[in-house]
């Protein structure tokens, strides 16, 4: 059943679809056609596989976090080390896939939105690699929070365009990228970074990210001889979780848990807990859950992590929630910050603030489970980009 999701209208159950201006509809149809065509070609798949292997360093390891497991006392914890990818996060998987597709489609210019800057850096990287002209739209607020990533993108030859509309964060960077695309749709390919937006993006991004779950499945079978009991991933728009969950959807014995950003708490107005506190509606091209008021105005999100600071979520996650196949839980800024320090001290791995949300929930869950249970946490990115921000937050006083 899950194999045919989404349907030909881009629907995951009632979620998904294509709610965009008419100007973009032909471009989306062309993109869908091109994707379905090329993704079936062995030479396309081989090029993507080659770059993932030789350029990004895949497969990433599935690492048994022994000291963390011991510290928490309970279920055995494995980390899927997406942080070991080139550019430091899972975002490169999708950027490589889409950039190769853009090239096959004969497009020489690519654009992307970015929140924390990871997708922007990944896109700028593959654009440099494949000789594509690259523009990245980033909320002005985020360009300040993630100044190093801005410079990184510039070093890679990309143009970074600060977005000053609306909340000046990821949501408005997405709007601005779509607006730019509407004007330049003839010669420009939009590399969307999350499992969100109009069809075919949620499907395509999931497909390019499913390598995370595919590898994990194979690796855990090799290392443990069985599937894990629980798989945990953080969700903003939901690309790393979509890729991690997808190969496990039909393995009903594997519990799938997405961890969203509760910011300062789900009972405050400052969070990004789209699944816990949001309602159904149309946002940025698809029908899903979003944070909104009763009149359908989108509410600003808040999270300590720029990558989760987004009031929407991909439609496949909305579907998995609606059929009860995955559950979605919140973790606060403070819990994420604590988890980041915990993982740093017990394992010598500084996770990205986004991924720290997944660690935070694993740290809660593990002690409640017996020692023969297995939890896999997707460590979607490394924390280097966040170090300056964390230093400010902790007053330079990490303990």
């Amino acid at each position: 059943m899950t194999r045919i999701m989404p349907d030909q209208y881009g629907r995951f159950g009632k979620f998904g679809g294509r709610y965009v201006p008419e100007t973009l509809m032909n471009a989306l149809n062309e993109l869908e056609e091109a994707y379905l065509h090329y993704s079936r070609e062995e030479s396309f798949q081989e090029e993507v596989r080659y770059l993932l292997r030789q350029y990004s360093g895949r497969p990433t390891s599935l690492y048994h976090a022994e000291r963390l497991t011991k510290h928490l006392g309970g279920a055995k914890i494995y980390l899927k080390r997406e942080d070991l990818n080139h550019t430091g996060a899972h975002k490169i998987n999708n950027a490589i896939g889409q950039a190769v597709l853009a090239k096959r489609m004969g497009k020489k210019k690519v654009i992307a939105e970015t929140g924390a800057g990871q997708h922007g850096v990944a896109t700028a990287t593959v654009a440099a690699l494949l000789g594509l002209e690259c523009k990245v739209f980033m909320g002005e607020e985020d360009t300040r929070r993630q100044a190093l990533n801005v410079f990184r993108m510039k070093l890679l030859g990309a143009e970074v365009i600060p977005v000053t509309s609306g909340t000046r964060t990821l949501k408005d960077a997405c709007n601005e990228t779509l607006r730019y695309w509407v004007s330049h749709v003839h010669d420009t390919y939009y590399i969307l970074g999350s499992a969100t937006g109009p069809h075919p993006y949620p499907m395509m991004v999931r497909d390019f990210q499913r390598i995370i779950g595919d590898e994990t499945k194979q690796q855990i079978l090799e290392q443990e001889g069985r599937l894990p009991d629980v798989v945990i991933a953080c969700v903003g728009g939901g690309s790393n979780a979509a890729g991690m969950f997808y190969p496990f959807i039909e393995d009903e014995e594997v519990e799938l848990i997405g961890v969203e950003a509760a910011g300062k708490g789900i009972d405050t107005h400052e969070h990004a807990a789209t699944m816990t506190k949001g309602t159904e509606g149309v946002f940025q091209g698809s029908y899903s859950y979003l944070l909104q008021d009763e009149y359908g105005q989108v509410l600003p999100a808040h999270s300590i992590s720029a990558g989760l600071d987004y009031p929407g979520i991909g439609p496949e996650h909305a579907y998995l929630k609606s059929i009860g196949r995955a559950k979605y839980v919140p973790a606060t800024d403070q819990e994420a910050l604590d988890a980041l320090q915990l993982l740093s001290r017990t394992e010598g791995i500084i996770p990205a603030l986004e991924s720290a949300h997944a660690i935070a929930y694993a740290a809660k869950l593990a002690p409640t489970l017996p020692g023969d249970r297995i939890i896999v946490v997707n460590l979607s990115g490394r924390g280097d980009k966040d170090v300056a921000q964390i230093m400010d937050l902790l007053g330079g006083d990490a303990r």
């Binding site: 201006p21 008419e22 100007t23 032909n26 709007n175 607006r179 509606g281 359908g296």
Partner: protein, 268 residues
């Protein structure tokens, strides 16, 4: 008979084309919007698009984005926008109103309730810029049931989609003049003439052109090619420029007059 159809029928008899101004309702506030609607009517507008301010207007350029932000700063809601149509009728403004809204505010109101409210407030049709024909089934069905027009957009990139969109159009077809978001353009691609020609040929209902049209010369150019011209950002910009006047009770009439004069000269 729907008011939109009546207006096009009478324009046709007189051999004229429609001028359709757009405003973001609630910019700068609801009371002023009502007075602006009066000015547009007095200046010779044939119909008015009432824009619902939205937090994420992804088809709009900076001018209308700013207008949205100004209206949202004091919580103007879709229901307020609908209500203003009735208030305008009380002032004996008789021209047809078309509600322009992104889909989510409509959806959250509930489609049935939305349609009923439009009928109750004598609004004749709707434009939903992020609802392409693949997704509009339920809205289209309910609009027809309520005697309302769901006005579709066609773009220069629509190509083989034109036929399908135009064949199910009601009210009129909104032809997007050029790629990109709303906002004034200094020039248009030469291909726009043949694009409009194609749409007109395919359409049983009137064809109006919008996006980027900001002065009398451009209105004249497009009026010669189709049945109506929509002017949005240029008017919203005029309102923005008149804000200091509009906000001061002593100069408010002067500000309103400027908007009226601008629209009157567009009408010619």
């Amino acid at each position: 008979m729907n008011r939109i159809d009546e207006v096009f029928a009478s324009l046709k008899e007189r051999g004229e084309t429609a001028l359709i101004p757009f405003i973001t309702v609630g910019d700068p506030d609801l009371e002023t919007s009502l007075e602006i609607i009066q000015q547009l009517s007095d200046a010779g507008a044939d119909m008015i698009e009432l824009g619902v301010p939205y937090s994420d207007p992804l088809a709009d350029g900076p001018v209308i984005q700013r207008a949205s932000e100004r209206a949202l700063a004091h919580q103007v809601r879709i229901t307020d926008v609908i209500r203003i149509a009735r208030l305008a009728r009380e002032r004996d403004i008789e021209l047809p109103f078309i509600l322009f809204s992104y889909y989510n505010p409509v959806l959250q109101l509930g489609l049935e309730r939305f349609m009923k409210l439009l009928v109750e407030h004598d609004i004749s049709g709707m434009i939903i810029p992020d609802l392409p024909c693949e997704e509009d089934g339920e809205v289209k069905r309910l609009a027809e049931e309520h005697g309302l027009h769901l006005i579709p957009l066609v773009a220069p990139t629509s190509e083989q989609r034109v036929q399908k969109i135009v064949s199910r159009a009601s009210g009129f077809v909104y032809c997007v003049s050029s790629l990109g978001v709303t906002g004034e353009r200094s020039q248009f691609a030469e291909s726009v003439d043949s694009f409009i020609g194609t749409v007109r040929e395919a359409s049983r209902v009137p064809v109006c052109v919008g996006f980027g049209i900001s002065n009398r010369a451009q209105v004249e150019k497009f009026a010669a090619l189709c049945d109506g011209v929509i002017v949005g950002s240029a008017i919203v910009r005029k309102i923005e420029e008149a804000l200091p006047l509009l906000r001061n009770p002593e100069t408010k009439q002067q500000g309103l007059l400027q908007i009226r004069q601008f629209v009157a000269q567009l009408k010619g």
